[in-house]
């Protein structure tokens, strides 16, 4: 009779729950029910995560890791890397078959190398069942053909960040909820010398978030359900025309912006409206005691969801991070025990709280974390996991969706049209041609 690794895990998991023993005894933080992984003898883990945008996130992650080590004896080395460099590092690790045992990867990375990732379906199902189910968007990024390639860890919400006093000065008592009103506001803000600024450059997060919102809010889509490229459409044309009008109200230079430019310009008082994660607000809030100018900005900052377009509902792309275990790890059980520990209630609740609204929960049981009510500005990020739309909509996630986004097909389409380097029709046709290469027509 042949035993697969999964059979062994299942067998040992049941036995281990009762007999495992001494390593976990006395640790309330690690008192699991129903599923327990016994770390391999002498297991040591190396994990690579992204550099924090909110210090509390990293501090709590490391504190939770320390607790895990104390509870299990498994040492975990946590390395960090700029978030944009995670994708290449993960790609190399997957391809070479060597590197960190675990990684916190982005977007549809798990779909690029599904065969290289350890199947964590058992753990995913367990956590989903125990904590009210997974939010669908982040789950899509982490699952393929019904299997969990990783555990959906968090969604980094994106929202409008604006200066309330300047919006009022521009004649708006409240922030417009639709795209038409939003354009009028941006025109008024520009006239008052407080322009808006959204990146048309190769910003992995901000550039893609903005471009996808422009497209989706007008009913356009890169591909249909079957993966057929449908970017060349009347809806896309409307989106481009809208982007052209909006671009006229921007501060100069947004074509060159990468991910940090909007934060920097906003905190310097150069801008009235940007779209960003909560990190820009947190930066102002946490540094306000040392800088009176930042204190004033923090007091005046407000956040809200991006306006709703002709499509009639809120549709946005957010960054999603997934915790994956590479199949080459010699310690799969230790890695799964670590992830299980980090997702269990005490650790996860504390981590979400400490992340100060930067990391939105993927498990529904944590929807009511106190962090979302702790500051009115946090609320705009509370439902990021519940409302996000995965990239490559409405087609399946996979090599093509990942490559199309990584090659900035959509970002370039808008940038080319708004800067006058191509007509909207030409920009659409070029995007269609480029996308077709990835979707192999």
């Amino acid at each position: 009779m042949k035993f697969t690794r999964r059979d062994v895990i299942r067998t040992t998991a049941g036995v281990a729950a009762g007999a495992l023993g001494s390593r976990f005894v006395g640790s309330s933080a690690f008192a699991q029910e129903g599923l327990t992984y016994k770390p391999e003898d002498g297991a040591k883990l190396r994990m690579l995560r992204w550099s924090p945008f909110v210090q509390g996130d990293e501090d709590q992650w490391l504190a939770n890791t320390k607790r895990f080590t104390e509870a299990t004896g498994v040492e975990v080395r946590v390395d960090k890397e700029s978030w944009e460099d995670i994708r290449p590092k993960a790609a190399v690790a997957a391809n070479v078959g060597s590197g960190p045992d675990l990684m916190l990867v982005w977007f549809d990375d798990p779909h690029q190398y599904p065969d290289k990732l350890h199947d964590v379906s058992e753990l995913g199902e367990y956590l989903g069942t125990k904590y009210g189910g997974w939010h669908d968007g982040p789950k899509q990024y982490a699952t393929r053909e019904g299997k969990f390639l990783g555990l959906p860890l968090a969604t980094i919400g994106n929202a409008i960040v604006y200066r309330e006093s300047w919006v009022k000065e521009a004649g708006f008592s409240e922030f417009p909820k639709d795209t038409a009103g939003f354009l009028e506001l941006c025109k008024a803000l520009q006239a008052k010398g407080h322009p808006a600024g959204f990146t048309h450059g190769h910003g992995v997060g901000d550039g893609n978030n903005y471009a996808h919102w422009l497209l989706w809010s007008h009913g356009g889509q890169m591909v249909d359900e079957s993966g057929k490229v449908t970017i060349n459409s009347p809806e896309t044309l409307k989106a481009i025309e809208y982007a052209q009008e909006l671009y006229k109200t921007f501060i100069p230079g947004t074509e060159s912006w990468l991910d940090v430019n909007n934060n920097r310009a906003f905190l310097a008082g150069e801008l009235g409206v940007i779209a960003n994660g909560i990190s820009v607000y947190n930066t102002a809030k946490t540094n306000k005691d040392n800088d009176p100018k930042l204190a004033e900005i923090a007091k005046d900052m407000r956040t809200t969801s991006l306006p709703i377009g002709p499509v009639g509902k809120s549709v946005e792309l957010f960054q999603v991070t997934t915790a994956v275990i590479f199949d080459y790890t010699p310690y799969p059980n230790a890695a799964k025990a670590y992830l299980q520990f980090m997702f269990e209630e005490q650790q996860m609740a504390e981590w979400i709280t400490s992340s100060a609204a930067y990391c939105c929960q993927t498990l529904k049981a944590f929807d009511n974390n106190p962090v979302w009510a702790a500051d009115p500005n946090n609320a705009a990020y509370a439902k990021a996991s519940a409302t996000l739309r995965p990239n490559g909509y409405a087609g399946p996630l996979g090599y093509a969706s990942a490559a199309t986004m990584a090659d900035y097909v959509l970002v370039d389409m808008f940038a080319k049209a708004v800067t006058g380097q191509a007509t909207p029709q030409e920009a659409m046709e070029e995007a269609e041609k480029r996308a077709n290469r990835y979707y192999r027509v």
Partner: protein
């Protein structure tokens, strides 16, 4: 001989061979891929972004190399004179080369920032311009800006290497030529230049190779933007091959760089090192 051959095989032949092979496959991250012949190259031949990156790379390499050579030679000639604090100035000249590329790229990122550029600020303070310069947002400006950053970084290599060459030229040749009534230009044209040519050939070969394969400056400054106006073949290869997961296509772009690099090497060796030219004859 055997260790050297083994090293060449492991660190040169194998990666190069693997890259060439990958260019003929549809390999993706985590998947070996199958042989698809020249399909990747066919795709690239019809890809406007690829051709734009070829144009950018040639423009970047040719402009930056010519200016690096001219400025580097000029600097080397100055440093070759008997200046006070000669060693100090030579050390200063080396600084841009010593600073890690990523750090200098970040410095240029600030210098070129659309809102906080010190250059724009200074020019506005002097009343020379009335609005900030869009260094990295406008395609023409962006290309010029990245070329300028590359020149700043590459001059020391050219200057110091040529300076080393200049110091090997016997002083007696200059004295003899001076006695024959040679002007300063004639000294340079008929003594300095011919004797420096082998060093120029080597230096410029390396300079062209470094410039052609530059990656970090572009990656930090623009990620190839705006609208791919600064994408070089190296950055596009990375974007498609690693970030986009299309290893085969990324490898094909990298392999497409080889003919250009070979041409640069051949030009240096068989063009610049011509004996007749080195001996002061016409070419």
């Amino acid at each position: 001989m055997l260790p050297a051959a083994a090293l060449l095989l492991v660190f040169l032949t194998y990666p190069l061979g693997l890259g060439i092979w990958l260019g003929f496959t549809d390999a993706r991250i985590g998947r070996p891929g199958i042989f698809i012949g020249i399909e990747n190259y066919q795709y690239l031949s019809d890809d406007a972004v690829f051709w734009l990156s070829v144009f950018n790379t040639l423009l970047y390499t040719i402009s930056a190399s010519i200016l690096k050579f001219a400025l580097g030679l000029w600097l080397a000639l100055i440093l070759n004179q008997n200046l006070p604090f000669k060693s100090f100035f030579r050390a200063i000249v080396l600084l841009p080369w010593v600073v890690p590329t990523v750090l200098s790229a970040i410095a240029f990122w600030w210098i070129y920032d659309s809102q906080f550029s010190i250059l724009s600020w200074a020019l506005m303070e002097m009343g020379l311009i009335d609005h900030r310069i869009n260094f990295l947002g406008d395609p023409v400006n962006a290309r010029a800006s990245v070329i300028a950053a590359n020149i700043w970084r590459g001059i020391p290599f050219v200057a110091i290497t040529l300076l080393a060459g200049l110091q090997t030229i016997p002083q007696s040749l200059y004295e003899a030529a001076t006695l024959d009534g040679a002007s300063r230009w004639q000294l340079f044209r008929f003594v300095t230049l011919p004797l420096l040519t082998p060093i120029i050939a080597i230096t410029m070969t390396f300079s062209v190779l470094f410039t052609f394969t530059d990656f970090q400056l572009i990656y930090v400054l623009t990620r190839g933007g705006p609208v791919n106006a600064t994408h070089l073949m190296a950055t596009l290869s990375f974007q498609r091959g690693i970030s986009g997961g299309q290893l085969g296509e990324g490898a094909a772009i990298a392999v497409a760089m080889i003919p250009f690099l070979l041409a640069a090497i051949l030009f240096s060796y068989f063009g610049l090192q011509r004996r007749k030219w080195q001996q002061g004859g016409g070419d």
